[in-house]
Amino acid sequence: MVDFGTAEVTLEMVQASQLGMKAFSAALAVGLTGLASAIAEMTIGSAAVGATAENRDVFGLVLLLTVIPETIVIFGLVVALLLMF
């Protein structure tokens, strides 16, 4: 026999679980891209500090180079926002 009461609860559970999966995917999108940006910025950042120590004039330029990999996490954030809303 089919128990309809149980079926109703299962539907809610499925919806809740879908919502959870969405939130989880959004978290993955931001988290993993954040890690990727961090790894990229690590190398650039240390080189940038070295270059600035040699010549202070390049500070503006290297600051800019350092933020270039931030694009990766921003794409991640955009994907997360699209998932959530």
């Binding site: 800019l64 933020v67 270039i68 921003i74 794409f75 926002l81 699209l82």
Partner: protein
């Protein structure tokens, strides 16, 4: 306005007898950018000129002045003069007073360094004496024995010695102190016992009397020397107070003298004449020409030369005054070339708009505006001033967008957002519809499409100025090709999917293979665009995906902004919603502490978000300009226009 200042290339030739007059006149006008003469093998008897005779004496005096400034701690770059001093008085002062001041300062500095050496000596003695103060023995008892050996030094713990001896031990000083006196025949045995306990011998100070008294004497001496040094510093400060204005004036005048005297090093000379090439802004050229002819009574030959190579022309910006601070941002990337479009004006307008789109918040905008106006009093550098000006434009834009977004430190203002709302559902303050993220993202994409298209159109204009003949045509077509591909892709997307805020072209009649009119037009545009790009450089085809990535990159205008809103709302929710509000319902002593903590959290959180806002809003807007916009048309790499002559701050002729 959109182009750098027009320049004229002048050639000046005159007899060597006039060289001084001409240099002086050029220096006074401050418009002539000297092109350094580089001797080549076939320069036909031309050689580099020699500095004027007064160069070495001026340089020597300048070194003296700089030494005095250094000793007194005067920095001409930071010095604010109350009034300008006439140059004649400064020269008079250099002749009469300078050597006296120099001698005084030199003597003071010398005696100070002597005192410092003496002080170090006393400090060393005091350090040596310190362990001995723990032992109640006068210093003369430590030495001068024939039959006894004295051990004095640090040790880890007290030891028991079996042979006849006299011993003092103290654990009052760091590392403990032990003194043992034994007969010479037991020396080795005692030494072994001591070394087993980690004994470290100390040199016995060459002094007499009780160690405590001696230590005190040294400390007194150090204090006396400190007072003397302070007195000398006081005297130096008095000299600074009294002569600083004259000294910086001397510095400036002598620097100018040296610069003038060494100018011939940049000229070409023959036996009797000298020749110089240089650049003058178009509107000042006639003026300087007349002035030179007047001061030399016509004993000068000036010719205007053709501009052959635009990479040799020095570049000076020609922007309205409100746009001049932004030149700093363009210089940070590269100075434009002479025949190139100067993007400063566009950056001045678009940069604040991007900043406002990202950090659109009345509260943060007001904080930044107050900060940029307040810091102007403290930060004096030219670059800093420009930066603060740019920041103040950006913060005004931030306030305007804050009104449009209806945001104040993450709270909403008493009206609904006039454009798309960015209010997130944090802390139960949800608005009716939540953030309109999709609409905002599409708005950002539209901005990207238009900005990139503008960049390419400027690229076409630039290509026609930068290149000649066939190359120019090719470059123009390639730029048009990039625009074609981008809009072709857009048309194809629009024909397939209905997207809010963008034209819906899905309903157009289908022509063939399921493609409708817009899709076909799009495909043709892409095809022609690719051909257009490839005819200039086939390798550029590899860059095609950047069309999509560059346009999508503008999504950061929304993404970075939304993260800033999220932080602001989180801070509000934590500080006010979770800590302060519940405590206000029933005030208890612990509740008061919680409220103070909440206020602190609120202030710190918003401070952090303001700092992040400057970084996020500023750097990302700047990056969109440098990476997405400038790469479409801007080459840069022009020489800075540096006119011969310096604006005088402290002296007047």
């Amino acid at each position: 306005m959109l182009w750098p200042e027009r320049m004229r290339r002048l050639l000046i030739a005159a007899p060597k007898s006039e060289i001084k007059t001409i240099i002086k006149e050029l220096y006074r006008h401050k418009v002539y950018h000297i092109e350094d003469f580089v001797p080549e093998s076939e320069s036909g008897g031309l050689s580099i000129g020699h500095p004027l005779p007064e160069a070495s004496s001026a340089a020597e005096t300048l070194i003296k002045v700089r030494a005095i400034e250094n000793a007194c701690g005067i920095d001409p770059a930071r010095f604010e003069a109350r009034m300008k001093i006439p140059a004649s008085r400064v020269r008079e002062m250099i002749r009469t007073d300078l050597s006296a001041i120099q001698k005084e300062v030199e003597d003071l500095v010398n005696s100070r360094s002597k005192l410092e050496t003496l002080k170090k000596e006393h400090e060393q003695r005091a350090r040596e004496l310190e362990p001995f103060t723990a032992i109640p023995l006068d210093l003369e008892f430590y030495r001068g024995y024939r039959g006894f050996t004295v051990f004095a030094g640090h040790i880890s713990h007290d030891v028991k010695i079996d042979v006849p001896h006299e011993k003092y031990f103290s654990d009052k000083v760091t590392g403990n102190m032990i003194v043992v006196v034994v007969q010479n025949e037991h020396q080795e045995e005692v030494e072994r016992i001591l070394l087993n306990a980690g004994f470290q011998a100390l040199a016995i100070p060459e002094e007499n009397g009780a160690p405590t008294d001696r230590l005190q004497a040294h400390l007194d001496e150090i204090r006396r020397i400190d007072d003397e040094i302070a007195a000398i510093n006081q005297k130096l400060a008095e000299i600074r107070e009294k002569h600083a204005e004259l000294l910086v004036a001397c510095d400036e005048l002598l620097t100018a003298d040296v610069e003038r005297a060494e100018a011939p090093l940049r000229f070409a000379t023959t036996e009797e004449t000298f020749i110089s090439e240089g650049w003058v802004p178009d509107d000042r050229a006639d003026e300087i020409r007349e002035a030179l002819e007047r001061v030399t009574n016509g004993r000068i030959y000036i010719e205007e030369l053709e501009i052959e190579d635009d990479s040799r022309v020095p570049v000076e910006y020609d922007n309205p005054s409100f746009a001049t601070p932004t030149q700093l941002l363009v210089d940070l990337y590269a100075r434009p070339r002479y025949s190139e479009l100067d993007p400063t004006l566009l950056v001045t307008i678009v940069f604040p708009i991007f900043f406002g789109l990202i950090l659109g918040d009345v509260g943060y905008g007001a904080i930044l505006l107050a900060m940029s106006l307040g810091l102007r009093k403290f930060l004096k550098g030219e670059g800093m001033r420009s930066l603060l000006k740019v920041l103040s434009y950006a913060s005004v834009s931030s306030i305007v967008f804050g009104v449009l977004y209806s945001e104040f430190l993450g709270y909403s203002l008493p009206w609904e957002a006039l454009i798309f709302s960015r209010h997130l559902n944090i802390g139960g303050h949800a608005t009716a519809h939540g953030p309109q993220v999709v609409e905002l993202l599409l708005l950002a994409i539209w901005i990207g499409i238009l900005h990139v298209t503008l960049g390419r159109v400027l690229g076409m204009a630039n290509a026609r100025r930068l290149y000649h003949g066939k190359h120019a045509t090719k470059a123009v077509i390639a730029n048009a090709g990039w625009i074609g591909v981008m809009w072709g892709i857009l048309l194809m997307i629009w024909s397939l999917f209905p997207i809010p805020l963008m034209p819906n072209l899905t309903g157009l009649p289908v022509l063939f293979m399921g493609l409708n009119t817009s899709a076909v037009v799009g495909a043709i545009l892409i095809l022609m665009g690719v051909i257009g790009i490839a005819q200039e450089n086939v390798l550029e085809i590899v860059e095609l995906p950047t069309i999509i990535s560059h346009v999508l990159s503008y999504a950061r205008l929304v993404a970075v902004g939304l993260s800033s809103v999220a932080i602001a709302m989180m801070v509000n929710y934590l500080a006010i919603g979770m800590i302060i509000e519940p405590q206000l319902e029933a005030i208890t002593p612990i509740g008061v502490i919680a409220i103070i903590f909440g206020v602190l959290l609120f202030v710190l959180g918003h401070l952090l978000n303001t700092a992040l806002g400057i970084l996020g809003g500023g750097l990302h807007s700047l990056r969109l300009h440098y990476v997405e916009f400038f790469t479409k048309f801007y080459k840069g790499g022009g020489i800075k226009y540096k006119p011969f002559g310096k604006r005088s701050k402290f002296t007047e002729e």
